[in-house]
Structure formats: C-alpha cells, structure tokens
Amino acid sequence: MRQLRAALARIAGAFRTPDADDDMRAEMEAHLEMDVAENVRRGMPPDEARRRALLAAGGLTQAVETVRDQRGLPWVEGLIADVRYALRSLRHAPAFTTVVVITLALGIGANTAIFSVVRGVLLKPLPHREGDRLVYLRQSADGRGEQNLNFSVPEVRDLRSAVPAFGGIAEYSPWTMIYQSREGAARVNVGLVTGNYFDVMGLSPVLGRVTKPSDDGPGAPAVAVLTYDYWMNRFAGDSSIVGKQITLDKKSVTVIGVLQPAPFFPNRVDVLANMVNSDHHLSAQMVENRVHRMTEVVARLAPGATLEQARLQTAAQYARLQGQYKEVYAAASHYRIAVIPFHEALGERARLTLLLLMGAAGFVLVIAVANVANLTLMRGVRREHELVVRAALGAGVARLRRLLLAENLTLTLMGAVLGVGIAIGGVRLLISFAARYSSRASEIQLDTAVLGFTLALSVVVALVLSFLGALPREGRLASWIAAGARRVSGSVHKHRLQRALVTTQIAASVVLLAAAGLLIRTMIQLSEVSTGLRTEEVLTMNVTLLSPAELLFNPMADVAAKARYERMRRDVAALPGVIEAGIGSPLPLHSSQVAFPVKVEGKALAVGEAIPQAELRTASPEFFRAAGIPVLAGRAFESTDGPTSAKVVIVNRTFADRFFPHEDPVGKHIAWTGEILKFTPVTGDWRTIVGVVGNTQDGGLDAEPRLAVYQPFSQFLALGGGLVIRADSNVDALTAAATRIVRRVAPTAPIEQVMTIAQIKDQSVAPRRLNAALLSSFGILAVIIAAVGIAGVLAFSVSARTNEIGIRMSLGADRGRVQRMILKEGGVLLAVGLVIGVAGAFFASGVMRGLLFGVAPHDPATFVAVAILMLAIGLAACWIPALRAARIDPAITMRST
C-alpha cells in the first residue's frame, strides 16, 4: 500500500511542473537562512556564519537534483528527454526519417500480418477445454491412394474397448441434409455425433444444452445443436431459437442449444445432431459393416495418459484387428492408423504455406533492417563529430548508447505503428487466404499477443541498430578527440560491415525471388493444364432434388426426380444460345465421393495387388457433348440406354489405359465388386463398355486423374444431379435464365456450384495464385529495398572517397576508369550476394517442394532468370553513384581539401 502510494506519487512527480523545483529551492534557502541566523546568534561574524551554513548544507544544487530524482522516476525522465531529443534530431533529417520509418514499417507490417495468421491458425491454444489433450484418429491405405479413409462403426467399437489411454472416443459423421425454411431450401453440413461428443471435445454451449449420452440410440428424440457461425449467419444470433423446431430432410428436429465458437476438422459444419436424425446412421449397414467408413474419430487422452501410450495401445489393437479381419485389411493396401494431436490435424494443410510466408516475411525484415542499419551507419559517420564532443563533455559510452537506443527505438516504434496499420489492411486479405487452408481462419486477429510480438520485434530491431555502430570508447577517446572534427572513421570495420549488410540484402532478395519465381511457374503450369474439356463456354449447376436418405428408402421418388431433371434439361436446352444441355453427377471437374472396387472380366489381379477403386459417375446421353468431353472410342450414351435396357458403361482414358493397354475396351465387361455392395444401391451385374471418353481433372488441376466409370443417368439412382450447359458464346449470361427454369421445376431444391468451367478452373488455381502473389510482392519489396541499399552504400563510398577520386583523376584516370572502379566495387558485392543467395535458394526451395507443381524445386530456368534479374537491377542501382563519381571535378575537390 505504502509502496503503491509512493509509486503513484512518483509517477505523478515525473510530470511535475517546474514549480516543484522552485518550492524545494525556497525551502532549502529558508533552511540556510535559519542556520545562518543561528550561527550569528552563537557569535560568528556574518561571513563565517554563512560559510559554515553552506558547508553543512553540502551543495544546494546537488541537493535539489537528488530531491528531483526522488520526486519522479529519473530513468523514465532520462528516456523521455532522450526520446524528445531524438525526435528533435530526426525532425532535422526528414528524408532519413521517412525512408527508415517506411522501410521498417514494410518489414514489421509484413511480419505482424503473417504472424497473426500463424498464431491464429497454428499457435493459439484451442478453444476446447484442455484442447492439447485432444487427438484425431486417421486411418489410411496408401496402397489404395487413400490418405484418410475415416472409420466404420465396428472399428470404432473395437478401438473403444481396447485403448485405456483414451478417456473417451467420440464419433462424428459428416453428412449433408436439406434445411427447409419458408425462404427456401439449403443444403447444410451436418455432423452426426454420438452423445459423448461434446464432452470428449470439451465444448460447451453458449445457449441451451449440448447432446448427452442419453441422446444416443434409435428411441431418442431428434435434436440438433447449432454451431456458433451458423447460428450467427442463418439465425442472426436469435436467442429464442433454443427449443424451436427446424426441418431437416423434411423431418422436424428440436434445436437444443448453440455451441461455443470452435474450429472443425476436416470441414466446416453448420449443425451437430444426434444419430437418430439419419435413418442411414441407424441402419445395419452403418452399424454392422466394417468397411462402411464414414465416421471421423476424435478422442481425449485419459487423465495421466500420454500421447505415446495412446499411440502404442491403438497400434496394438489395430494390428490385432488386421490379423482378425484379413479380407478387410488387404496387406497390399497398406492400412495404417495414426493418432494425431487435434491442433496438428487442424493446422496440417496450412503449416507449410504459413511457414513459407513467415520465412519470406522474415527475409523482408532482415533486408529492411540491413538497409536501415546502413543508413544509420552512414548517418553515424556524419554524427561522429557530435558524438565525440559529447564524449569529451563527459557522456559515458553507456550514456551515448542510450541516446542511440532512444533514437532507434523512436524510429522502430514509428515504423511499428505504421506497420500495424499496414498489417490491419493485410490481415483482412489474409483471413480469406487462410480460410482455404484452415477452419481456424476466423480466429486470426491482431490481438495483444500479436501486438506484443510486434513490440518485441521493434525493440530487438532497435537494439540491433544501436549496437552495430562503434562508439568512442573511454580508452580510445583521446584518439577520437585528436581526430577532432575530421572524419574519424573511414574505419575499415564500418566499411566492411556495410558491405556485409548489402551482401546480405542481395542474398536474401535472391532467395525470395527464387521462391516467388518457382510459385509463379507453378501457377502458370497449373493454369496450362487441360481440364479435359474442349471448351470453357460451359455453365454447370448442381440441383439436389432428393436427399440421400429419401432416395435410399423410396424408389418411387427416384423415378419422379429423374422426370423433373429431364424437364429442366429440355427447357434449358431450348434457351436461345444454348448448344447442348446434359444431366450428370457429379459435375465435371468436381471429384466424386462415390467410388467402389471394380473388376474386369477375364483379368485376374496379380498376387498382392490392391483391388482397384473407380469413381462412379452418371451421365445423360447429351452430357459429354455438352461438357465438351471427347469420346475417344465407341459411342456416347444414347436415349435407348434406358432403365430396363442392357447395362452399359463408359470408362475414362485412365481406366482404359490401365486395364486395356493394348486392346479395344469397347465390348468388354466390368462389374462393381466387394463386400461393400451389400450395403449400397449399387449392383454387381456385369456391364458392357460402350465407349471411352477423355480424362477430366476432377480432383483439381494438380491431381492425377482417377479411374472413372460412367453409368447412364437413367440406369442409376438420382443420388445427385446437375446441369451441364454449353453455349455458343458468353455462357455467363445464361445463368439467370437457367436458374429461373430450375426454380420453376423445383422451387425448393438447393441450387449449388453455379459456375462456368472457366470459374471452376480459376478456383483451382486461386490458392496457388495467392501464394505466388504474396511471395512475389515480398520479393519485389525485397529487391527494391536491396537496390536502394546498394545504391546508397556506393553513393556513400563515393562521397567518402571524393578526395581519393579527385587525386586519381588529376593523376590521369579518366572518367570511364573511375566509373568502372565504382561499378566494380558494386559488382563484387552483387556477385558475392548472388552466390550466397543462389545457394540459400537452393536449400530453401527444397523445403517448399510440396507447394510446387510441374516445376522442379531446383528448376535451373527459374534460378538463372532470378540471377539475371537481380544482376540487372543491382547494376542499374550501381550506375547512379558510379556516374556521380565520374562527374567529380578534380580541381574543385583538391581545392576544397
């Protein structure tokens, strides 16, 4: 309490008025007078009396100073004075200050913005209770090219009973349902969860309640918990929603609560519901079939258990299962299970990109700081005189250092303020960028932790800047003073430091440019990949007439739906400008979730070969023509391929190449196969191949095309359906008319993925383009700063060597020679920087291998181009100071010496 009160008084004292000093002086003078009077009273002569009193006082001014220190906070006042002085001296160097502050702002701003993303997506603790104890289970089968298979209910059951290191295992099955409201229908992402899900995840409701184990089982009432984002977006945060009924897949569900904001994996989710909401999830297929894998599994480590224990126990149980069900876990498919901390799973897609960007931002900062350091060093040389005078007047090294620190802190903090301004703008862009990689993008913000990072960064930069230059040291003070007003340096040390800084800048710029170059080439390569479609004048739209649940349990609905799809197709095809319209599912350039094991008549699998899986796609007779997918052999479907006629299929080129490398696939027979068919509407009948079509880049432009088998739209359930519309030109303009037709036929069906082929393609390239754009802007920034840096250092070198150059010229060196000399000086720096930079880029590009497509990490063309670019810019930057050196007039220079 006492200390607090004293501290407050001192802080107040730090802002004291000059009156306080006068007051103290008056008090002391009164004291002195009383002392003098007393001495006189004792019989001393007045002079002696005053002398004795002053002696006892011990120096009035010193006393006032001591009291002043006690009154306020001397070091703060010192700092304030230093900062005030720094501001004053910076005001006298506006060009220097502007350049330094802007340079630092760019460096600090870039780092602040990127760090805010890294923190939001990778570093921030999860909002889940004890989120670091959450794990995500992943089953994969590399032999089948499956990175994430999910789990079946029997598998989860087996794990649950055998891994004591898990305190709880929760199931989460992603599902889509149609949400019906007065305004229309929309597809919502539903997570069907077991009752223990929220307890395991450590998530609480902000309103109402979440599900409990009592909500499990077929007898429980259907309930739903809204995610925070969905509640805010769809229901505008209406708190009266709890207890109300909503309609999902035409069934009534009670909303029991709203969940706290939390990231989901692998995908965003709108509604979390208990299993009873989906008949499918209660069916024997779901509950009994070991290969019916549509459940994500999250678990919480039991108290005291470690991740390592959980991994061992899980692996042991999985090995047991593999031994027990050999037919399910074929050895050739390389089934594996992994236990991954949940926060790692959330961040894994973003990590590489973010680390790359953080590294790039770091390089930009290094370049910026190097530049500022150079400017400060040059300024320092001009200030040596001032510093020497100060040292001579008694300022110690520490005092001078503090002065420099105050000045550099002032600069970096101004840079930081401006940088945070830049970052605020940047973060908005980066959130949409990061949303492509992580569901935690919404957590990105410039919070106190990020600002703390910025502040720490600024202080570190200020410290580095303050300790780079040499100061007149006590021991060497004499020599400094002796040198007096003349330039003390020319100091080899300082010169070497400047060169090292410029070399660093060039090297770092080369690394950044190379990385940017590789990403740009990746982007170009990607956009040059053929989609497999002959034209881009194609509009697609997905129309969902029936939910999966309705289809699976109601054959009549399927017939009616197909009739409606055909009506839409006919009406759209009749629109002016439309060349052809087709129906199919999934739409071209969208990957299919539906893939089954497939066998070919007369072809046995090699021993140990994994059973191949092919995508099942459907197409109407007009589909291929409308989409511009070439028929390479045989024929397209025809209207005669009806529901009751012979079962026919068309395969894609990959399929034909894989199974019929040297023969004609047309007329051959294939069939779906495997245990899984028992639980699906797919039949294992032999089907005749009637045609081969070209591959389409359904999994993205950078993905290898998968095996695909098309069935006639009429010969398979209308699990989904979409329109593919080809126009003679400007297909965009058809969107409104086509949508109107679909609305007329199906007023409440969700219409999605309304995009032209050009847009789909663009979307596939977009993340890469953003990567490239970000890194390129960093690279350009770096090169500009580095060019300014090298030009500045050379210019300084020229002005420091004016005398020398003057002498050379008067001794017969011509202008060309002088110019070459300076260019050579810059050229050496450039060359060294280039060599180091290329070596660094060689190393760095290996790290970013995963982000590249169609270009090798050590692509020689990119490296050469980057080197030439850097060299050209560097030489251009050297040219100006070299020209100035050549213009030196020896007569004038010599005279002024």
Partner: protein, 113 residues
C-alpha cells in the same frame, strides 16, 4: 570529525518520524538540528540527505507538508506526522527494537567470553 557517522535512509526515516512525534510540526531545519543534537553532533545531515528522505516520507503519506510562518516570522515548510505516519512509526519502532535485540544477543556471548 572521525566519529561522524553517515545515516542510512531507513534509520533516518525513523529519526524524522520520531522527531515529529515528539516535537510536533517542524520545518526541515528544526528536524535536522534536533537529530544532530540528539546524536550529540555525531550525525550531520546535509540537504542532499535530509530532503530526499522528507520527500519520500511525504510520498508514502507518513507526513504532510505546508508553508507556515516560523516562530521568528520566517516562512518555512512545516512537516506534520499523519495518522499513517504514526502507525508507520509504531511499526518501525517495533521492528527496530527486534533488530536491536537480535543484534544484541548476537554480540552478547562474545563479550562474556
């Protein structure tokens, strides 16, 4: 002069508080004189020692200061003990006593030996 002592900050605060407790409101000169006399001139207080100590006590709220006329009609700043100051004095006296006892018992056996 050899037996003149420097005062430590802590003890000086105690002396000031005690002086004000005994004599009532007093100016800096009066406090200094009183302390010097009490110490039989073994202590001298120059301004640089006395006034920071007074300011510190004032900041801590143990004393308060105001300008008044002195006994011989001079203007001087008078210091008065506050209620908090009285409490602080009592506490510091107690602590001082304890320390003194402790030191005394440390030194005692040697004297006996």
């Amino acid at each position: 002069m050899a037996d003149k002592l420097d005062v430590q900050q802590g003890t000086l605060a105690l002396m000031i508080l005690r002086t004000l407790d005994v004599l009532g409101p007093l100016h800096g000169y009066g406090i200094a004189r009183r302390i010097e006399e009490t110490s039989r001139n073994r202590l001298t207080l120059n301004y640089g020692t006395l006034y920071p100590a007074l300011l510190k006590l004032e900041q801590e709220g143990a004393i308060k200061a105001e300008w008044r006329q002195s006994e011989n009609n001079r203007r001087a700043k008078f210091y008065t003990l506050t209620a908090a100051g009285r409490k602080q004095l009592a506490r510091e006296l107690r602590e001082w006593q304890q320390t003194a006892d402790l030191i005394a018992s440390f030194l005692a056996p040697k004297r006996e030996a």
